[in-house]
């Protein structure tokens, strides 16, 4: 019996889709069967982020409306054999499906997959309700900005109201130098305000943009973001992996000691 995890944020542009894609890929590499579902009807994106946009035949709405069998709509990732994508519909809107239908679909998928990752649309309307309907737990993505944190707080409240308590938090696009200068909120500032468990921190990394341009994952590369996503996947799998303090400024002596220790 698999577990359904919704990746949500309230605000748009904080990195839900990139996070869904990379966590999906990471989890599938640890011998788990994973399906990622794009629930953003009308604004299909997960397929392009994953580089699978040319392979779509059927979509989520086709499955729900019975235009095709579930298996026909699933796209297997050629690079990662344990990973499948259920794409969204580009020409429908959020009213094309109901939370009840989503719950039924997710329950069916749980029979076969270890992880069902639901990429939630921005906003708190029906698209959000649809995305969280079948979820057992939630990952809230935010950035260290006032607007994103405010929306994340709202989302956490709504998740709790829908019976998804104790969501976990990913802080994305942390700009290390700005934090060091005191110009950006720290990880501690954000977790203190939102008061939820921290699942991971992603330093702002050009490699994410470069990888997404090409429809490639950033996980698996030795970039900061790639390693951070890897750690997040290990934590989801139950491993205890410490969250590195990206903003600690090491003195020359400490850096030298570290250098000798690691050699």
């Amino acid at each position: 019996m698999g577990e359904a995890i919704v990746i949500t944020s309230g605000k748009g542009g904080v990195g839900k889709t990139t996070t869904t894609a990379n966590i999906g890929i990471g989890l599938s590499q640890s011998d788990k069967k994973v399906i990622v579902i794009d629930t953003d009807l009308g604004l299909r994106n997960l397929d392009v982020v994953m580089g699978m946009e040319n392979r779509i035949i059927y979509n989520l709405v086709d499955v729900i409306e019975g235009n095709c069998r579930l298996k026909q709509a699933l796209i297997k990732d050629k690079r990662f054999p344990e990973l499948s994508l259920l794409p969204s519909a580009q020409t429908k809107d959020k009213t094309a499906i109901s939370p009840e239908q989503m719950r039924k679909l997710v329950d069916e998928l749980k029979e076969e997959y270890d992880y069902i990752l639901l990429d939630c649309p921005a906003g708190i309307e029906q698209g959000f309700e649809n995305a969280i309907a079948g979820a057992d737990r939630a990952i809230v993505v935010t950035t260290p900005e006032v607007s994103a944190i405010r929306d994340a707080d709202r989302i956490i409240g709504l998740l709790e109201a829908h019976g998804i308590s104790r969501p976990q938090l990913i802080i994305n696009k942390l700009r290390i130098e700005m934090v060091q200068k005191g110009d950006m909120m720290t990880v501690e500032d954000v977790t203190e305000i939102l008061a939820v468990e921290l699942l991971g921190v992603l330093p702002d990394d050009e490699q994410v943009v470069i990888a997404t341009n090409q429809g490639e994952p950033v996980i698996g590369s030795d970039s900061l973001a790639g390693q951070a996503y890897q750690n997040i996947c290990r934590r989801i799998n139950g491993e205890s992996v410490p969250i590195p303090d990206y903003t600690r400024t090491e003195g020359v002596l400490a850096r030298l000691l570290h250098h000798f220790k690691s050699n």
Binding site: V146, I149, R150, D153, R154, G157, E160, G182, M184, M185
Partner: protein
């Protein structure tokens, strides 16, 4: 890293945190930001009507679903 780093008077981060705390409190109880200040002050007045206390002993916090009033009986 500059050795003689002079701390700024008010960093943008501390302004952000203050603004967030105020806006989140009002989001959580669905009212305007200044209403929560008034609410806290009224609650303080009410409590001190019956209990002899000073502001250091009473802490009022509004969370997502609860209003907490903590009172430490010990005098400072």
């Amino acid at each position: 890293m500059p050795v003689f780093h002079s701390p700024r008077r008010t960093s943008s981060v501390s302004i952000a945190k203050e603004r967030l705390k105020s806006v989140l409190t009002s989001d959580r109880v669905h009212c305007k930001p200044n209403v929560t200040d008034k609410l806290e002050s009224d609650l303080y007045q009410t409590v001190t009507k019956y209990i002899e206390a000073n502001p250091n002993q009473i802490k009022i916090t509004v969370t997502r679903s609860d209003i907490h009033i903590s009172f430490t009986g010990e005098k400072h």
